[in-house]
């Protein structure tokens, strides 16, 4: 070994040491060790040091095979001792607190001369740009943070994985790159590699580390909550090990965050900071998704195999987003593997899924197709029955169904229902050149429940052929989404980035519960329909253009325009031709936005913006100013705040129906019967972050106005001979206030990761129709505690989550009375309490999971067990009431108790 080589190795090691120790190794740096070995295998040496010096080493066995050590030193500081120990090997090391040392192969062994020259800076204060990719699949990685090490300078990659960092001190600076579920990367700039766009590749945790980069730590955390105000990132790669209900579910995972209700078993929609699910803007590859539920809301409509990134803004979001009051969830679909063909699949007790992905045209393009479909297993039926079999509950009083007036009962049809859901994602991406990317994303998902039957005909026999009837019973519930988006992205230069997006989204929902009776009378046949038919069809055609312009090193300007056309039809028919409701809402929302992000002395980031929307239905202009700031008080403490005004024009109306799942439909506000709702967010918070822990506290206040509550009922109108009974819709309108405090304590790295989240919240509505006092909104929840843990042990991963939430408010009868009907029967009616005057019992549940990763030949697989509601807590979903023998009885209706499920996933790579 030449002197020069040895020197360069030492230089590199020292460089490594400088940053490792500088950042993390303060305690270990002071530690002193001594040893003396003669021709001893390195693994035995390490074992000896672990015992005698209370150290812990992590390494790949293959890396240290055949290395033997002959060294003897007096007691020296640890780093010096390790340099000496590894001096003649090709190994480097990294010290991780509290006492771990990671050994890995030095990438530049044998290239020492070149390497050393590369670390001599040639240019200063440069701008660096590039793209971040997954090493194995070539997927670009959006919204990852790219920092210039030891400076406050950093950016996030954009939706296509590109980044540009101005003011990088020199062309040998280190970049530190974080992305959830991936090994954090330290990337060394060199005078050579900065001459063109960087292509930086990151490895998923669990993959063999390669040597191009220096690994600092594993980004093993399940969520990234420290990047902005009220902003959280998640990736399917990171949430794979959380306990799930048979399916890895992104929305269910988001419900484990503070500020988002985790006790809504019957909805995978998000109740964010006292908001309702329709107040969330859900964007999938830029098209708006209007309905996120499968199987009555037990699962979300998104297949996590097709998604690579999720960004959630719990409030205070920027001017780029609009049209919703509460939050934004931005889902980015996978582009498909741009390096090699891959396929995979999975099986759970609920559904089967599969995907294929492949590059085409020499890697310029890639595609991914992923699909999933439920099958009618016992497991599926359990969930299904829980939502539909109302008549067989565990009851505190009686197990009968409720008794409505007139002695009628909720009837359960004695037919085996046919029911399923499926979804399909497809995406193709084509890189036209270095500057232009074209992508097309497609989504379709549907739930269908068919409970129909045909009744035997010839009711009056054959003798009277002049009169007879056929009865056909239909009980069909169907809902689903179609969505597609065509996107063109262009990097004009390092400073300017644009994308144009044309999207189409369609949500439809149909319920047909009718008896069609065909009556034949004297050679003529006519039909009578009894029952109800409900139909909602929403179409959204949008054109968006978003631009990012890096005006200077401290100034990022974002601007764009968005135009959406909504066409929403809603029909509700009863008993043949009675058209109870028939709405056809059409309207344009045209918005422009401008937002400027300014960084002051790398400590204070101020973002200000405005969004202006013209709403064609009432021909009004709505201005939404927004502002946010983050201030780095120290390297670890960050103060933050946000404020913004938000308007919502499309509203989802929920009609609760316990028999077939709640019915909901969308409509456009008309500013008359349905007001345009608005919110003002005030958010402030502080976070304290170390390499291992994050403590985050946020306080929010939302002032809400123009809220609508919907109800329909048969109401007599008019008086005298011309009076009629009309099925009328009522929009009760009012205002509200949501406020709360969120705490998050997260352990980000190590074998054990997880978080404790706590929310203290309150949502009160003030509706004139419900009295002169404000009342707690349905989604109000005072306390919510979530404890999430994840422990890795070799190929095993154990996950657990515990949720405790105080009970939600509900309205109940405070008494009853009976009315004798004309036929002598008696109908019972309830006298109803003040709105939401009561509270359900507290909600809590513990879920556990265990996943085993293994290889099948060269392919990857995992097998897991997930247990939902381990101790079988009967959490009350709602209550039913009935009067039995003069006594008002209530029945607690709960969802699933203890439910284990299995899953298996496999992929070629």
């Amino acid at each position: 070994m030449s002197y020069q080589h040895t020197t360069s190795c030492t230089v590199m090691m020292l460089l490594l040491l400088c940053y490792s120790i500088g950042l993390y190794g303060q305690n270990l740096a002071d530690k002193k060790v001594k040893f003396s070995y003669t021709d001893r295998a390195l693994d035995l040496v390490l074992f000896d040091l672990e015992i005698n010096e209370q150290l812990k080493f992590e390494y790949n066995k293959e890396d240290i095979d055949d290395i033997r050590i002959t060294k003897s030193i007096p007691r020296l500081p640890l780093q010096e001792a390790l340099i000496t120990l590894l001096q003649e090997t090709d190994l480097s090391f990294e010290i991780k607190p509290p006492k771990t040392i990671v050994l890995y192969k030095n990438p530049d062994k044998g290239k020492a001369t070149i390497a050393s020259s590369q670390y001599v800076p040639q240019n200063y204060n440069i701008t660096v740009s590039g793209v971040l990719k997954d090493k194995a699949s070539g997927e670009t990685l959006p919204y990852a943070s790219v920092l210039v090490k030891d400076t406050g300078n950093g950016v996030n990659t954009n939706g296509d994985g590109y980044f540009t960092i101005p003011n990088v001190p020199s062309d040998t600076s280190l970049l530190e790159i974080h992305y959830l579920g991936y090994h954090t990367l330290l990337f060394r700039l060199t005078p050579d590699n900065v001459r063109q766009d960087l292509i930086i590749q990151m490895a998923v945790i669990g993959q063999q580390l390669q040597e191009v980069v220096i690994v600092a730590e594993k980004e093993e955390q399940l969520l990234k909550a420290s990047t902005g105000v009220s902003k959280v990132g998640m990736t399917p790669a990171a949430i794979a090990t959380l306990p799930s209900f048979g399916e890895k579910d992104i929305f269910r995972s988001l419900q484990l965050l503070p500020g988002i209700s985790g006790s809504n078993e019957s909805s995978s929609g998000l109740y964010v900071r006292g908001g309702t699910p329709d107040q969330n803007l859900i964007l999938f590859d830029e098209f708006t998704v209007y309905h996120v539920d499968h199987l009555f809301g037990f699962f979300s409509a998104f297949n996590s195999n097709a998604i690579k990134d999720v960004q959630l803004y719990k409030g205070g979001f920027g001017a780029k987003y609009g049209g919703r009051l509460s939050s934004v969830v931005e889902l980015t679909g996978k582009d498909g593997n741009s390096q090699k063909f891959n396929m995979g699949g999975g099986l759970s007790l609920l559904s089967i899924n599969g995907f294929i992905e492949s590059p085409f045209d020499d890697g310029k393009g890639s595609f991914l197709i992923a699909g999933r479909r439920s099958f009618q297993s016992q497991f599926y039926s359990n969930i299904f029955d829980d939502f539909t079999n109302i008549g067989s509950r565990n009851a505190s009083g009686s197990d009968d169904g409720a008794t409505p007036p007139g002695g009628r009962r909720f009837g359960q049809q004695q037919v085996e229902p046919s029911s399923y859901f499926y979804d399909l994602n497809a995406k193709a991406t084509y890189r036209l050149n270095q500057k232009d990317i074209l992508s097309f994303s497609f989504y379709n998902g549907q739930d269908k429940l068919d409970n129909s039957r045909n009744t035997d005909n010839s009711a009056f026999g054959n003798r009277n052929i002049a009169f007879g009837f056929d009865r056909k019973n239909t009980d069909l519930t169907k809902w689903g989404n179609w969505g597609s988006a065509l996107k063109w992205s262009r990097r004009w230069n390092n400073q300017f980035y644009s994308n144009v997006n044309l999207s189409y989204s369609n949500y439809y929902s149909e319920r047909d519960r009718s008896d069609e009776t065909a009556i034949t009378r004297e050679d003529t046949t006519f039909t009578i329909n009894n029952g109800s038919f409900e139909y909602n069809d929403l179409k959204d055609i949008s054109l968006k253009m978003d631009n990012e312009w890096q005006l200077s090193s401290n100034n990022l300007l974002e601007f764009g325009l968005q135009s959406s056309y909504n066409d929403i039809a809603y029909q509700y028919q009863q008993n043949d031709t009675i058209e109870v409701l028939n709405r056809l809402d059409q309207g344009f929302t045209n918005s422009i936005y401008l937002q400027d992000r300014h960084t002051f002395s790398q400590k204070l980031i101020l973002t200000g913006g405005i969004r202006s929307t013209h709403y064609s239905v009432n021909n009004q202009l709505y201005n939404e100013p927004r502002a946010s700031l983050t201030y780095l008080l120290t390297n670890k403490i960050k103060l933050k705040g946000a404020w913004g005004k938000y308007y919502q024009f499309a509203t989802r109306i929920v009609r609760e129906d316990i028999q077939q799942g709640s019915r909901d439909f969308w409509l456009l506000a008309d500013d008359e019967s349905v007001p345009i709702s608005s919110a003002t967010h005030y958010i402030t918070g502080v976070s304290y972050e170390t390499p291992i822990y994050l403590f985050d506290l946020e306080v929010y206040l939302k002032e809400l106005d123009g809220l609508s509550e919907y109800t329909t009922r048969f109401t007599p109108s008019g008086f005298g001979p011309n009076s009629t009974l009309n099925y009328e819709e009522f929009f009760y309108t009012g205002s509200g206030v949501a406020k709360g405090i969120e705490l998050l304590l997260q352990k980000k790295t190590g074998r054990f990761t997880g978080w404790i989240g706590y929310t203290l919240g309150e949502v009160k509505y003030d509706f004139e129709a419900f009295g002169d006092k404000p009342f707690y909104a349905n989604q109000d929840q005072t306390h919510e505690l979530k404890v999430i843990g994840n422990y890795k042990l070799g190929k095993w991963t154990f996950g657990g989550s515990f949720i405790y939430a105080s009970g939600r408010p509900y309205t109940a009868p405070i008494g009853y009375y009976e009315v004798d009907l004309l036929d002598g029967n008696t109908a019972t009616f309830f006298e109803v309490s003040d709105k939401n005057a009561f509270r359900l019992p507290d909600y809590h549940r513990l879920d556990l999971s265990c996943t085993y990763d293994f290889r099948l030949g060269s392919s990857k697989a995992n097998l897991g067990l997930s247990i939902y509601n381990l101790y079988g807590r009967n959490n009350v979903w709602y209550k039913e009431y009935e009067v039995v023998e003069g006594e008002l009885l209530e029945t607690d209706v709960s969802l699933l108790g203890f439910t284990p499920s299995l899953f298996f996933n496999w992929s070629l790579h």
Binding site: E656, T715, Y881
Partner: protein, 274 residues
């Protein structure tokens, strides 16, 4: 600098906790609301006005009648007093209810004036397709007739050019009716006298399928009620869940229940052994 940081943090945290939440209990009222049930039949006297109190949840007591109230009925020009009959019933047998008139009943309860107003519809004459139906006796252990031997449908019809609600009640009025099918006769009186009711519908006919719907021989009375929308509304409440419970339909101001006018026509048919 450290001092500044510390104070900034303290100030900041203080601001955060300023916005903390307060809990307020929402009081609930005990149910003591007056419930009025009143049917004003065209051409009959005002003889069955019933006023009770709603029954509180968890209340062991049964119905609380509201007797000795000062209850009046007004026909638009004159006010009449109703006399208390006990058990919450009130009447004025001298007052004949007239079609086409509006009536208001009112009384005071818990320091509030409770009132309700209704309109009395006109009677419509109905016709029946057959007044005599022949049906085979079905002995125990035999099967009901099929094909040629089944009875024809009975159709009851009336004019409903106004599009009003009608409600049909069919009732066997024999003292001890004989069952068509002995199977039902052996059910230990479970079925008793046949009674069949429809729900109020906007309709101008009502069909009875004897083979399915009629169980006994003998004379059946068919009452065709013409009812007001407020009565039909009673049949459109079906939810009894905390997710969707709403105030019950009622045309009583400051109270619960119903006051409604009705007119009716009565027809008969007889089911005979073949």
């Amino acid at each position: 600098m450290n001092h500044i940081n510390r104070y900034t943090i303290i100030l900041f945290l203080s601001l955060l906790f300023l916005a903390s939440c307060e809990q307020e209990s929402i009081s609930t009222t005990v149910s003591q609301t007056a419930v009025l049930t009143g049917y004003l039949h065209a051409g009959q006297s005002c003889d069955s006005i019933h006023i009770i109190q709603s029954i509180s949840y968890g209340d062991e007591d049964s119905i609380v009648s509201l007797d000795n109230l000062y209850v009046t009925i007004n026909d638009g020009s004159n006010t009449f007093e109703l006399t208390t009959e006990g058990e919450g019933y009130y009447q004025n047998t001298n007052l004949l209810i007239q079609s086409g008139e509006s009536y208001t009943i009112q009384f005071e309860h818990n320091d509030e004036m409770v009132s309700a107003t209704t309109f009395i519809p006109w009677k419509k004459d109905a016709t029946i397709s057959d007044t005599i139906i022949k049906m085979e006796k079905i002995e125990a252990g035999t099967f009901p007739p099929i094909g040629e031997n089944v009875a024809e449908a009975i159709e009851i019809s009336w004019d409903n050019s106004e599009g009003d609600y009608y409600y049909v009640v069919v009732h066997n009025i024999e003292n001890d009716p004989e069952y068509i099918n002995d199977f039902f006769a052996n059910q230990d009186g479970f079925f008793r006298n046949f009674r069949f009711t429809s729900e109020p519908q906007i309709s101008d006919y009502y069909n009875i399928d004897p083979n399915r719907e009629i169980r006994q021989f003998g004379t059946h009375r068919v009452i065709i009620f013409r009812v007001n929308p407020e009565y039909a509304a009673l049949y459109n409440v079906s939810e009894a869940s905390s997710l969707s419970i709403t105030e019950p339909p009622s045309n009583v101001i400051n109270g619960l229940g119903i006051l409604t006018g009705i007119a009716s026509d009565t027809l008969y048919f007889e089911v005979q052994k073949e």
